[in-house]
Symmetry: C2
Subunit: 234 residues, 2 copies
């Protein structure tokens, strides 16, 4: 039987052999939710870049530069980190360079995996269907917050484990912890998350609408996947 494991923080990724695994990177608030939204609205590619200055330079190569540090849009950037900025027709066909506090770092640290997919609640069922059909073991890599684990990414990991567990065996204890967390929270994830440290940070930025949207399952039937250094539709 295939196995599924969860790496609750990118700082633990050295403990996992990713070379033969399909990795699902998740940063619910809000990097991977933005990426999924952007692909659902027709962007051509997203290049995740860990360093903000490197990302800024991509402007001169014809990229739209997007992202945040500590939850806020970076000065001089074209777009920030709200999924609502990636929803209109003007986005179609664009190439985006994207940097965020945690999400793009998690993608960087996952390189070397057999395959890297982008997960969020918005494409939860699409990811689930794909993973059920795939032959490879799975590792969910949670972006967390500056190395520490966070509720929202752990919740997504738990939701995905919960959907797959009848068919795919947990490889260690982290999937069980994540699944239990999801089962406790699933009836009202917005309320559950209101206790989280990151939501407290984000509340100061007035993005309650973003949070509600990012916790809504199955809005889009797309799966972004890393091909060399760029994300494209799978």
């Amino acid at each position: 039987m295939k196995t599924i494991d969860v790496c609750l923080s990118p700082e633990l990724i050295h403990l996992y052999d990713v070379s033969n695994k399909t990795v699902v990177v998740v940063d619910i608030l809000r990097a991977t939710s933005c990426m999924v939204t952007a692909f659902a609205h027709g962007v051509e590619s997203i290049t995740p870049i860990a360093d903000a200055d490197e990302c800024m330079k991509m402007k001169y190569k014809g990229f739209v530069v997007s992202g945040e540090r500590n939850g806020q849009k970076i000065e001089g950037f074209d777009k920030g980190n709200s999924p609502f900025e990636y929803m209109d027709e003007t986005i179609r066909g664009l190439k985006i360079a994207f940097t965020t506090t945690n999400g793009t770092q998690a993608i960087e640290k996952s390189k070397g995996a057999r395959q890297i997919l982008i997960g969020s609640f918005l494409n939860l069922s699409a990811i689930t269907k794909y993973l059920l059909m795939s032959d490879h073991n799975i590792l969910i890599v949670c972006a967390g917050w500056k190395g520490k684990i966070n509720l929202e990414d752990s919740l997504f990991a738990g939701a995905l484990v919960d959907k797959l567990r009848k068919h795919i065996e947990p490889d260690c204890d982290a999937p069980i912890v994540a699944q239990e967390l999801y089962l406790s929270a699933k009836n009202d994830m917005v309320k559950f998350l209101s206790t989280s440290s990151h939501v407290k940070r984000l509340n100061k930025l007035n993005i309650h609408k973003d949070i509600e949207f990012c916790l809504t399952p199955d809005q889009y039937d797309v799966i972004p996947a890393l091909k060399r250094s760029e994300l494209h539709l799978l």
Copy 2:
């Protein structure tokens, strides 16, 4: 208000400033459960030693050498890692040198903390009472399994957070995750743990009795604490 945080793996400890914190190290199966049991039965001191060869050398300095690697007693050692080996009168007054796969490593990595205490379900209420009276912020350090998080240590962290949370604020999301896990499991922790990877490993070693005992709260009213390089009663 004081704060409480949980470091779910020793591999994440660099993310926490321990210098002003009371650290509670926990390795439920079975290092810290053994240590608490041994002090409750009158040992004079326990010297935690990360390296097994270094631990063995302590035999020639008059120490009883104890511990395990991968769940099994080390060849040539006096005692293994079952709490039932630390329960009789012959233990009174002994100085023990102790090495384990995860627990003693977690103590080593916690050095630099304001204070290091040894926690287990066996002394849960004793630890709770002490922490409520103390003025310092708290970090629970879970020993985990070779860097990965595990169910049993996360459960203990959740139990302690649950007992303290009315009075002490969580500092980040890990305490919330641990508490939710504990609330899901508390009515039958033995059954809950039967799904865990470590218990599956230990079942092969035939130590079901150890597991049940290690999950029993409040057997002993003792708190081992690190003083220089030795554990003594607080």
